[in-house]
Structure formats: structure tokens, C-alpha cells
């Protein structure tokens, strides 16, 4: 068997694929964060909580109302999106135009509240969510067993990422959004309802996180705390990509998934630190991230 640095090629290919899948996941999460930062200049520390809400809602809606996976895939992001709009409307709007740090603290506070309340309701051990029947099993590839569900995750995550990127970079609505973030007052002066646009954008950004949450529900332990650690990593991804760069968030997300996967193969203990190491190195040479515009 061909070996690369003592690792069989087959294993390595499997790891690369797994890394790629996780990368698609990161991409989805960091995309929402990048949109919210890029377009609204809000550092959304509630993003992890929204991801968790997506997963938790999926489980809770199933347990109480019997809502199935496919409906949840649509409903959970919608509900979380609406929740996001409310947060924007009642809280974030009041600190518009203030220093970034305030949005960071505010959303961090919101995350603590959501997480704390849900911990008291649902505990920390996690909730059960069975894999939908049609995704049970997998494909036997040459080098690994690929569960159907992972294949589905990668397809749907990439589609959503691409669709979002297209909407923001290539459509008129996207142009409104980009311009609105530079000078929202002026955009309003042109006849565009910027406050509404801002609410919707925040709602959309967190809905993306919730969407990732739904995707996560069958494969990860669903607990109120599940977003907290993911958050910091996803933040790192956005920063490496260049805060606010939509395409950058997607590409970096995938890249980091792969790098992390390789680290898990060659030196597993470092796999949670490697992203931060990459971040330090990248920012040494590119102060605004890989795809960021100079400030």
C-alpha cells in the first residue's frame, strides 16, 4: 500500500474527504458570520447559539410535534431567522454605529442568556435525534465507508453557500446590502428601506447558522452548549478569510476543514490549535486575512 509520511494513501484520501465535509460545514457557519460582519459590521457572538438553536429546535419540534427532518430543514432556520430579526430590531439596532466591541458584547450576552435558559430546561447531556431513515447506511468507497448523510451534507452545504454568495455578489439586492453597510443613511436617502434590509440580513445570517444546526442534529450530540466552542473556531475561519469577505469565508471554511483533517491524521492533539496557528501566520503576512480588503 502506498504510504505518505507513514499514513496509508487510502486512509489519507478518506481523511481528506472527511476534512472537506467538515470544511463545508465550517463554510456554512462562517458564511453567516461573514455576512453579518461584512454587511452589518456586527461581530455576532450569538452565532454559536443560533447554530445550537437550529439543532435544538429540530429535536424539540420532532419530539413534541413530530416534525420530520425535511420540514425542520426549512422551519428551524425560518424560526431562528425570525428570532434574529427580533434581536436585531429590539437590541442591535440601538447600538448601530457604535464601536464593534459593543455588538460583540451584546451578542455575547444574548448567547449567554439563550444558552443558560435552555440549559435549565434541557440539561447538558444532550438530546436524542435519530438519523432520518433514508440516510441510514452509506456507500462503500475504495478507501472508506462514506455515510449517505455526510454526502448529503456536503452537497447541500455547498449549494447553499454558492447560492448565498451569488445573491450577495451578483444581484441588485446584494448591491443594496453592500452599499447599505458603507453608508446606510445615504442609502435610505436614495429610497431604500435600510432598517428592514438590516433586520432581514441579520435574520438571514443567523438562519444560515440554524441551517447548519439542523444538518448537525443527526450527527452531533445536541446540547445547549454545542455552539460555544464551535463559535471561536468559526470566528477564526472568518478572520483568516478576511472579515466580511463572503467568498473568502466559504473558501477558507473548506480549506480549514481540510487542514484540520490532516492535522487529525498526523498530529491529532494539535487539531484544535492548528486553526489559530494558521490564523496567526496568515495575519502576519496578510494583515486583512486571505481575501480581505485593506481597511
Amino acid at each position: 500500500m502506498t504510504m505518505i509520511f507513514g499514513v496509508p494513501l487510502a486512509v489519507l484520501s478518506g481523511q481528506l474527504l472527511i476534512g472537506f465535509i467538515n470544511g463545508a460545514f465550517y463554510a456554512l457557519l462562517s458564511l453567516g458570520l461573514a455576512i453579518i460582519f461584512g454587511l452589518l459590521k456586527i461581530i455576532n457572538f450569538a452565532h454559536g447559539a443560533m447554530y445550537m438553536l437550529g439543532a435544538l429546535l429540530t429535536v424539540v419540534m420532532f419530539n413534541t410535534l413530530g416534525v420530520n427532518y425535511w420540514v425542520a430543514l426549512f422551519m428551524a432556520p425560518l424560526l431562528v431567522g425570525v428570532f434574529g430579526v427580533l434581536i436585531e430590531y429590539f437590541l442591535l439596532r440601538r447600538i448601530a454605529g457604535q464601536d464593534h466591541i459593543y455588538s460583540l458584547l451584546l451578542t455575547f450576552g444574548v448567547a449567554l442568556i439563550i444558552q443558560g435558559v435552555l440549559t435549565n430546561i434541557y440539561g447538558v447531556s444532550g438530546l436524542r435525534y435519530a438519523m432520518p431513515d433514508m440516510f441510514k447506511g452509506g456507500i462503500k468507497l475504495d478507501f472508506m465507508f462514506l455515510p449517505y448523510y455526510r454526502a448529503w451534507v456536503i452537497v447541500v452545504a455547498l449549494l447553499v453557500c454558492f447560492g448565498t454568495w451569488f445573491m450577495i455578489e451578483k444581484t441588485k439586492l446584494g448591491a443594496y446590502l453592500r452599499a447599505g453597510t458603507e453608508d446606510s443613511q445615504l442609502m435610505q436617502g436614495f429610497g431604500i428601506n435600510v432598517p428592514l434590509l438590516v433586520s432581514l440580513t441579520y435574520g438571514f445570517g443567523v438562519a444560515l447558522a440554524a441551517f447548519a444546526g439542523v444538518l448537525a442534529a443527526p450527527i452531533y450530540s445536541v446540547t445547549p452548549g454545542m455552539g460555544a466552542n464551535t463559535l471561536i473556531v468559526v470566528f477564526a475561519v472568518v478572520v483568516i478569510g478576511g472579515m466580511g469577505s463572503i467568498g473568502g469565508a466559504i473558501i477558507t471554511g473548506i480549506m480549514m476543514g481540510v487542514i484540520e483533517g490532516l492535522t487529525k491524521t498526523f498530529y491529532p492533539p494539535a487539531s484544535s490549535a492548528v486553526i489559530f496557528l494558521v490564523m496567526v501566520v496568515v495575519l502576519m503576512f496578510r494583515p486583512s486575512g486571505l481575501f480581505g480588503k485593506e481597511a
Binding site: Q15, S125, R128, P269, A270, S271
Partner: protein
């Protein structure tokens, strides 16, 4: 005599963080059940309970306990989950000569290198968990092992224990991976475990790491492909979260299970009425240890730490929680442990019907023998 005519118990546990379900608010309920069952007073003295969230933070906890001990005259501290908190608190208790009963912590070092004459480790520790599960699995033919170890002191200790037991029983560790704590996605590691071709995949981790690893293993068809999963530290709450669908067939060691006999069932019915959930071994242990403590106070007629501890050590423990229980001089309460297997969906009749007990591990075999102890209280 009982100081200021009150027995004060401080309950310190994680009320809001990662270990909340293990002891947490429900542990406080168990403690209060014990006091009620005892009758509410000891030799006419009041029993008072203080409680606090340990925030999983040793310095916050040590301020709390210092104040409890120095200002509030607390006689005994119960609960105690995160090992960093337990160790910090036990030092303060030693300094001030009060008693601590540790029910939540897993680290076997608590009665080993960190032992003090002022605390008792009651429910379980990693040694019997690793010991029981590993030797049972090896004996059933799981000779070659692949270990997934949480990369921190606790995981390392567990790994060392397992390795020793596996090798002693004629098995072999063919590979291992140290994953960061915490990890959400285990697919890389599961893939490596599959590639290793080992008979058994041992999980030397805890909490959400373990449940995530098990979920991923099930998704990647680890057991279908003929490998056995052995979880070295798995609680009832974890299995409940995973569901029998995912967790079926996993073997584990536990100190207690709610559905073992009429006594356990009777008590856990009462507990469930209070809390809405079935008790874990930690909840039961808090109940049992509190009763044992109060009985000792009553018998000794004093709440002085050393007097009570001696009394507790001199009295064997046989109640709904423990069979053949006794407290050794290192503070370790040893009692029978049980090898259990997670039921299949067909066997499980309700959401809490999760284990079948395969066999009993006698108290003397289960725990680390005193001859291997590094505790300063043990003279070999």
C-alpha cells in the same frame, strides 16, 4: 458535641455548566431527600443546607468554601464534581479540618496523590470503570484494542489504566489517538480506528466527547463492521441522550443502576417524582453518603470532622446504593460495581430502561488496591 447545635452541609456542584446533569440541581434534591428521610434533625440539632454553583472554577469555589468554613461554620461539603474544584476544596477542608464527601468526581487521584484526612470519595472513580469494562471485554475475546483518548490528564490516566488491564489480561493495544478536548467531529478518528482493524474501540474520554464519538461510530457503521465499542466513562444520562438505537450493545461499568432491585426502584421512583428524571449513580451516592454521614454524626454525638470520619469508616455501608461498602483509610469508599450492557431497542421497554446488568464486580477487585496507593495516609 455538635458545634453551635447545627449540622451545616454545603452542597457545591456545577449548576449551570458541562457537568450540570451529573450532580447539579438534582443532586441537591437527593441531598434534601436524605435529610428528610433521616428525620430533619440529628440528636435534636438542626440540619441546615447551603448550596452554591461551583462555576467549574477552583478559585471561585475555594472562595465559596473558605467562606462557608470560616464564616458560616459549615461542617461538611457535599457534591464536588470537577476534579480541579474537588482538589482545591479538599485542601481548604484539610486546612480547616472539616469534612468533604466527593460524589461527582471521576479522577482516581483524589484518593491517591491528592488524598487528605478530610475527604471521602464515595461513588466511583476511573479505576474500577476502566478495570471492570476492559477486563470483561478482553475476557470475551476483544483482544486487540484501539483507544480514543481525550488529550488531557484525565484521559491520559484512563488510558494508562486501560492499557494495564488489557495487557494484563492478554490483550494488546494496537493503536491510539489523542483527540483534543472537547471535540465535536470524531469522523477522522473513527476512520483511523476502522483502519486499525482492532477488535475493540475503547473510548477513554467523557461527556459530550464520548457521546459524539459513539454517534459518529454508529453513523460510520463501526459495530456493523464487527468492531466492539467500549466506553470507559459513560453515565446513565449520556446513554439516555444517545438512545438505545445508537448506544445498544455498548458495555460499561457503573456503580449503581436504578433498576437493580426493589430498594433501588422504590428510591428512584421517589426521586423521579421530585425531579422528573431517573437518578444517576451520583445522585444515589449523594443520598446514600449524606445518610451515612448523618448516621455517623448521630452515633458519635459530634460533628467534629475526624470523629465523624472515623465513625463513618467503622460502619460498613449496606443500603439501597451500596453493597459491601466500606471506607478505606485513604478515604476511598469501595463497594460492589456492576458490568452493564446497553439494551437493544427491542429489550428496552421505556426511555429509562437502558441497562442490563451482566455481572457484579466485587468491591475488593474493583478499586485500586491500597498496596498501589500513593496516598500519604496509607502506610505500606
Amino acid at each position: 458535641a455538635i458545634s453551635d447545635n447545627t449540622v451545616k452541609i454545603g452542597y457545591l456542584a456545577d449548576m449551570s455548566g458541562t457537568y450540570r446533569d451529573l450532580a447539579g440541581p438534582n443532586g441537591l434534591k437527593a441531598l434534601q431527600m436524605a435529610i428528610k428521610d433521616f428525620g430533619g434533625t440529628v440528636n435534636g440539632a438542626k440540619i441546615e443546607v447551603l448550596s452554591a454553583d461551583d462555576r467549574n472554577n477552583p478559585d471561585a469555589s475555594s472562595s465559596t468554601v473558605r467562606r462557608w468554613v470560616e464564616n458560616d461554620k459549615v461542617d461538611m461539603v457535599a457534591g464536588l464534581v470537577a476534579s480541579s474544584v474537588t482538589i482545591a476544596v479538599s485542601k481548604i477542608l484539610e486546612e480547616n479540618d472539616r469534612l468533604g464527601i466527593v460524589s461527582g468526581s471521576a479522577a482516581s487521584s483524589i484518593t491517591n496523590e491528592h488524598c487528605t484526612p478530610n475527604h471521602i470519595h464515595y461513588v466511583y472513580d476511573t479505576y474500577p470503570l476502566a478495570n471492570g469494562t476492559a477486563s470483561a471485554v478482553v475476557k470475551e475475546g476483544g483482544k486487540s484494542w484501539y483507544l480514543m483518548t481525550a488529550d488531557y490528564a484525565f484521559g491520559h490516566a484512563l488510558e494508562a489504566d486501560v492499557t494495564r488491564v488489557v495487557e494484563a489480561n492478554g490483550g494488546e493495544i494496537v493503536g491510539s489517538v489523542r483527540h483534543p478536548f472537547p471535540t465535536q467531529d470524531f469522523s477522522s478518528f473513527v476512520l483511523q480506528a476502522q483502519a486499525s482493524g482492532a477488535d475493540v474501540v475503547g473510548l477513554a474520554n467523557a461527556g459530550s466527547d464520548t457521546t459524539n464519538a459513539i454517534t459518529t461510530a454508529s453513523e460510520f457503521g463501526v459495530t456493523q463492521a464487527g468492531q466492539t465499542l467500549a466506553a470507559l466513562l459513560l453515565f446513565l444520562t449520556d446513554v439516555h441522550a444517545l438512545g438505545v438505537d445508537t448506544a445498544q450493545g455498548i458495555q460499561l461499568t457503573t456503580g449503581w443502576y436504578w433498576d437493580m432491585n426493589d430498594d433501588t426502584r422504590e428510591w428512584s421512583d421517589r426521586f423521579m417524582k421530585e425531579t422528573g428524571v431517573r437518578p444517576t449513580m451520583v445522585h444515589a451516592g449523594i443520598y446514600s453518603s449524606t445518610l451515612h454521614y448523618l448516621n455517623a454524626v448521630a452515633a458519635a454525638g459530634s460533628d467534629d470532622a475526624q470523629t465523624v470520619r472515623k465513625q463513618m469508616m467503622d460502619t460498613p455501608i449496606n443500603d439501597m446504593f451500596a453493597t459491601n461498602g466500606r471506607i478505606r483509610e485513604d478515604g476511598r469508599m469501595v463497594h460492589d460495581m456492576y458490568l452493564a450492557e446497553v439494551k437493544t431497542p427491542a429489550e428496552s421497554k421505556n426511555e429509562w430502561d437502558l441497562y442490563k446488568i451482566l455481572r457484579t464486580i466485587p468491591a475488593d477487585e474493583a478499586y485500586r488496591p491500597l498496596s498501589e496507593s500513593k496516598c500519604k495516609l496509607v502506610t505500606n
